[in-house]
């Protein structure tokens, strides 16, 4: 097996790819909606605390694991914790790949809406009944959803196929400035609309007393955990290609803060657009209550038709979403590709396998919106478990030891204190609070059938799918542990 690893061409390349990893559709379609629904200002405070307490410590932990082992998540967990813990790495890779299967479908939606915006499908005077009809027609036409899913997977696969420097790094260096440029164009256009400030008032109103509401904290921690990419296995994988002298804490802080900057720009675009263009406050509230797809593909698609040059702003908005989705799809593919490469596959062969799997296993999500929503819900909770595994690995290895030896290196700009080890140590408590809250919610949504695995968002569906993932991880534990090449940690031990 080849042990020679590729390497990022520059620190900016790694940072661009990592910011792209963090900024995805969740920043644009989920953050503004959840922030507005949870009081605006108090949510922003809780969300910033979550970034510092949950996401950045976890990103740093992931980067340390990836750098020490120089292997994808499966091999990394084997080397970092011991052979019997390989299944935890398998869980992380599996969850990430399962998300990739439907994320490519979502990216396809964005590009379809971009083409429809350019073609002028959304005409001035259209109401939400018309845009909802367009959305329903599109999502119930498998030839269309599968075609755009295929194109998304093909684009993502092609970039990963070209390698780290020639593919992911090169694409990220173009995509990230483009993404911020597109978002700023949309932001400035929206801010010139009469009534736009009402949206900013909604987003930034302090209402400090609302911080006493635990739901705001749970929503804020969930948003930060899902949006920053912490615990997904992305940074374990991307860290494999970092140079020896790398500022671990500084890079992870850039990723986390960059994610929040992207989300704030999106929030300052989406909410003012909704409040400025809505015919009434009730309409704006209906938009905010319509879920991720409703707010984006039904309400915003309609609202853009009410403004001058709305067609082009709509195109810019959906293109930005598509670029954000692509920049997050790349690390999802790479997590799978790295694992196959650790098992002896060449990059080209591994990419062909992962991209083919991504297309084929994404077809059910392209075919059925219910299937996609079920996967999104279950895997959202599964990601919290992935984060728990990362924190477990760090704790078992010794957080303080890693902080002194791997993070606070002589060449690091940012030295971090014991707060990092403390955050990692309280992670299980935060995990219990947040995942427990989601499970409790799923019970309240189905008081009589919460145990039924066939219900879309039930506790039963989480339980059954988790059992399948764990069983797969345990059954393949030794086989995958033996199949994966030795990392730097094992070689040093020998």
């Amino acid at each position: 097996m080849s042990t020679k690893k590729e390497q990022w061409g520059s620190r900016w390349g790694f940072i661009a790819a990592s910011i792209g990893m963090a900024i995805g559709t969740g920043n644009i379609w989920r953050f503004p909606r959840v922030a507005a629904s949870n009081g605006g200002g108090p949510f922003l405070i809780a969300w910033t605390v979550a970034l510092l307490v949950w996401s950045i410590p976890l990103l740093i932990g992931e980067m340390v694991i990836g750098r020490k082992t120089r292997l994808g998540a499966i091999g990394a967990f084997r080397d970092f914790l011991g052979k019997k813990y390989t299944w935890m790495g398998t869980w992380i890779v599996m969850v990430c790949m399962l998300i990739m299967f439907y994320y490519s479908v979502v990216m396809g939606w964005c590009f379809k809406y971009f083409t429809m915006s350019v073609a002028g499908v959304f005409k001035p005077g259209m109401d939400t009944v018309a845009t909802e009809a367009i959305w329903n027609t599109f999502t119930t036409t498998p030839s269309q959803t599968i075609l755009f899913h295929f194109l998304s997977m093909a684009i993502g696969g092609f970039i990963v196929y070209k390698g780290i420097t020639g593919g992911i790094e090169k694409a990220s260096k173009i995509m990230i400035p483009t993404l911020f440029g597109l978002m700023l164009v949309a932001l400035f256009r929206v801010m010139t609309l009469p009534g736009a400030l009402l949206g900013l008032e909604y987003l930034f109103n302090p209402r400090i007393e609302m911080l006493a509401n635990p739901k705001i904290w749970l929503e804020a921690f969930t948003q930060s955990a899902w949006s920053t990419g912490a615990g997904w296995g992305f940074i374990i994988t991307y860290a494999v290609y970092t140079k020896k002298k790398e500022d671990v804490a500084g890079n992870c802080m850039i990723m986390g803060i960059g994610n929040n900057v992207g989300a704030l720009v999106a929030g300052m675009t989406v909410l003012p657009a909704i409040f400025a263009l809505s015919p009434s406050v009730e309409f704006a509230n209906d938009a905010l209550a319509s879920g991720n797809t409703g707010i984006t593909f039904i309400y915003l698609a309609q609202l853009f038709t009410r403004m001058p040059a709305g067609r082009w702003i709509s195109a810019v908005f959906f293109l930005a979403m598509g670029v954000a989705a692509l920049s997050s799809l790349l690390p999802m593919i790479e997590v799978g590709v790295r694992s196959f490469m650790d098992a002896g596959f060449s990059r080209k062969k591994a990419t062909k396998v992962v991209a083919s799997m991504g297309f084929l296993l994404g077809v059910p999500s392209a075919y059925s919106l219910n299937f996609l929503n079920n996967q999104d819900f279950v895997l959202g909770v599964a990601l919290l478990v992935s984060g728990l595994f990362v924190s477990f690995a760090i704790t078992k290895y010794g957080a303080e030891k890693l902080r002194k030896e791997e993070i606070n290196t002589p060449w690091a700009d940012f030295k971090i204190g014991k707060w990092w080890s403390f955050c990692i140590s309280i992670f299980p408590l935060l995990f219990i609070a947040i995942s427990g809250w989601w499970v409790w919610q799923s019970i309240t949504w189905y008081p009589d059938s919460w145990w039924n695995p066939l219900e879309l968002y039930s506790t039963g569906t989480i339980a059954v799918q988790f059992i399948v993932y764990i069983a797969f991880g345990l059954l393949t534990n030794n086989w995958l542990a033996d199949k994966t090449e030795k990392g730097e940690l094992t070689k040093k031990a020998i």
């Binding site: 620190r11 200002g41 922003l44 008032e201 930034f204 302090p206 002298k245 500084g250 900057v261 704030l264």
Partner: protein, 32 residues
């Protein structure tokens, strides 16, 4: 927009944007 909301906006944009700028600037200047 109310004064508290404007204050909150300046604080947040200042904190996130400022920190992001400082971190990026340091990263570019790091010779490691």
């Amino acid at each position: 927009m109310s004064v508290p909301a404007i204050t909150m906006m300046i604080l947040f944009l200042g904190f996130c944007g400022g920190l992001f700028f400082i971190l990026i600037n340091k990263a570019f200047n790091n010779k490691a």
